[in-house]
């Protein structure tokens, strides 16, 4: 797949936005020119629409078709609104409201157009970059070591843990070859297994002498216990891949029977009291696990963040989509009022599928997520993933969106 330059993607991203924005502007001019009483006559508006979307029958041009289609869409919202409210408001008020709605939509398109800085080296001042930095700190911080990233994630976990685990759990699972080095997202089953591992460590661990350090006695759990509740081979794939799953959380398989912590795990977990020590009668140090729900999940996320060059295609798309969606929605909430009749124009799949894939790609560049942007699916075939994403959205993501909205409003007030 071709590796597109920043400028190319920016151009793609802006194309659709500017096309629709010009249609919004055009509609606004048309409505302003009308007398309030004409607003109430559907025939007049229909005539205006027909005139504006007139095109040659003999020659079909994509751009003319596109314009006609979206103009119809805009007018459709206007017709609906007039139909629903004609009893309630005076024509003058109705006209003013529609113009206000169009004005606000126009300004929002402006924000979307200007939030991306075209010059790749001037990113620090762009709105996209500023919003990205806030999100990145909470969900996928960058750092020089696994420890640094893990500490940062744990710091923000009390408030954002649900969002943090959410970015690890893609909703789609297309057939994909997962190589030895590749880190995939957490499927619901793996998530359940990790929780089960946490419980088993806390409840009733066995203790074994460490093979890495003869002075240590480490807690272990039996692999068979982890998979015991599964019947009918429901988790046989996971059972086979248990070694790889463990490695991603700094755990290891011992003698093909037990799961225990690596010495790296002990170093990482001890400062956060996820594991404590006790000295045995023979002078050996016994490590007692006292894991929290986030202990293993955030270790997995730290590894994802630290080794972001080795993520599966599914996970890359999922992370980028989360970032793109939260930023897109935050801007919408910040700059458009909830009762704007064109709100749905922005939330429409036809709009989202043309903006979000490019926003996702932009967010994968070096100044941003540093993910492999060639793996972003921008083909229309996969547009459905956007809906899949929406369907699974959880409260924590909404909370994060409103957190960004507050940040944007604060910034606007400061100006």
């Amino acid at each position: 797949m071709a590796r597109e330059r920043w400028e190319d993607v920016v151009a793609y991203y802006r194309t659709y936005l500017s096309l629709v924005q010009s249609l919004i502007k055009e509609s606004k001019t048309m409505i302003i020119k009308l007398e309030p009483s004409q607003i109430m006559e559907e025939g007049v508006l229909q005539e205006l629409l027909d005139k504006a979307s007139k095109r040659k029958v003999s020659k079909v041009k994509a751009i003319a078709e596109f314009n006609a289609f979206f103009l119809k869409e805009i007018f459709h919202h206007i017709f609906n609104y007039i139909e629903e409210c004609k009893e309630e408001f005076e024509p003058m008020d109705l006209k003013d409201y529609i113009v206000d709605f169009l004005e606000e939509a126009d300004q929002t398109f402006d924000i979307f157009l200007t939030m991306v800085e075209e010059d790749k080296n001037q990113q620090h001042s762009s709105l996209l970059f500023r919003l990205f930095i806030i999100l990145e700190k909470l969900l996928l911080p960058q750092g020089n070591s696994l420890e640094e990233i893990y500490n940062l994630l744990i710091q923000s976990a009390p408030e954002w843990y649900n969002a943090q685990r959410y970015v690890l759990q893609p909703t789609t699972f297309f057939r994909e070859e997962i190589g030895e080095m590749v880190i995939p997202g957490l499927s619901p089953k793996i998530y359940q297994i990790i929780n089960h591992i946490t419980s088993l460590f806390n409840l009733d661990p066995n203790f074994l002498d460490s093979d890495e350090n003869p002075d240590f006695v480490i807690p272990t759990i039996m692999i068979s216990d982890v998979f015991e509740p599964y019947i009918d081979n429901i988790a046989s794939a996971e059972e086979e891949a248990v070694k790889r799953i463990c490695e991603r959380m700094e755990l290891k398989v011992i003698m093909n029977t037990f799961i225990g912590p690596t010495s790296r795990f002990l170093e990482l977990a001890e400062p956060h009291r996820y594991i404590s020590t006790q000295t045995d009668a023979d002078g050996k140090t016994r490590w007692i696990p006292q894991l929290s729900n986030e202990t293993l999940i955030l270790l997995y996320l730290s590894r994802v963040s630290f080794r972001r060059g080795f993520l599966s295609k599914e996970l890359i798309n999922w992370i980028a989509m989360n970032f793109a969606f939260i930023i897109y929605n935050a801007i919408l909430h910040a700059f458009m009022s909830d009762d704007n009749i064109f709100y749905n124009l922005f939330l429409d799949l036809k709009t989202e599928e043309k903006i979000l894939p490019y926003l996702m790609k932009l967010l994968c560049f070096e100044n941003y997520l540093r993910l492999d942007r060639t793996k972003i699916r921008d083909s229309p075939t996969y547009r459905k993933e956007i809906f899949t994403f929406l369907g699974k959205k959880i409260e924590a993501i909404d909370k994060l969106t409103y957190f960004l909205v507050d940040e944007i409003k604060k910034e606007l007030n400061d100006k």
Binding site: C85, P188, N202, E228, P229, Y230, E294, K384, F387, G391
Partner: protein
Amino acid sequence: MENILTMSLDLWTELVQNFKVGLEKSLELIKERDVENIPGARDQLVRRFEELIRYLPRNEGDLLVKAVDESIQNAFFPRTNDLSEAFSKILASLEQEPDNAYIINELINGFIASKTKSFGSFKEGPVIDRIIEGFKKSKRFRITDYSFYAMFGDPNNPRKTLQAQLEKIADFIGLVVEERVIEHDLARSERKIIKYYTFPPEILEILEGSYLISTEKGEVIISENFDKNVFTSLFLAHYSIQRSTLGKYKINGICNIFALILILSFMPKVSLSEDNPILRDPGFDGDRMSVIPKSWMRKDILAELIQPTIELVAFRIGASKWQEKIEKSDAKKRLHLQSNMLIRDVNKWVLGNLCRVEIPIFVEISNIFQEITVAGTSDLLD
């Protein structure tokens, strides 16, 4: 008639007795080994088990009757034949107590996901979430199988697969189907049958006003609050009125969920010393959470407890008809064990301690027990 009543009473007495035996076995196991890391936690648990053994089976288990009938059934599985009444009752209980809603939603989600090969698992993701989004994007509160495929279909799979899944899940949660036949479809020049899935008419009436709202400027929109609670309420209401005809899988799942709620409610809070690090952990919210002994999550202890509790709950909800359908084979007990993992989603591990989020249904059941034990203690003192 009298004979049937006596038989039922005998069965109930037997179930209460089995439950008592289960408690006693669990108590023995707790006394054998201490896995607690908080001083005094095991003693507290032992005391609680002794109390449970002493008080729960008293008066033909009237405390258990109260807990299951008045608390659990009233909130989540009302005894009525009217769908809209059951729906309104459950919805009200979920809306008024969002925490109750959270636990029941999590448990039902887990229940559906626990059987991976079943219809509930749609590419390993919860299909109910997608149906919610389908409804949100739809006009007039209904979705079609075609639009559902357009939204969520996998390009690698034929449309039929998804449509069949949707049909099964719609039936599972109690949506109604309307078919519309188009004699001559313009796109393909052939006959086309479109299936519309929507809520039963009596439920739609209840939803209008609260979930379909008109904005100040006159637009009619589907409320943001339209969420899982509506489906959970429909799912539970649907089954509560059809309780006499439910199949094995559903009966086992529902009883499992309620049994877990019951057991969790009876567990004591562990008192923590002021210097316990858990109190300073940002993940622990002292106002809403309490540490409970972790021993009861031990596999061997749960194995003794869960089966008799499920049977008790089954009898209270669907009498012997339900109780007979509870799976007792070893393989199926594993399924119960698997469902126990669900409970970890609604509780939290904080620094190696199991913390119960004090949601209203737990508090309510726990209070019933508390009243009796306090009264029992004062009886003894008298």
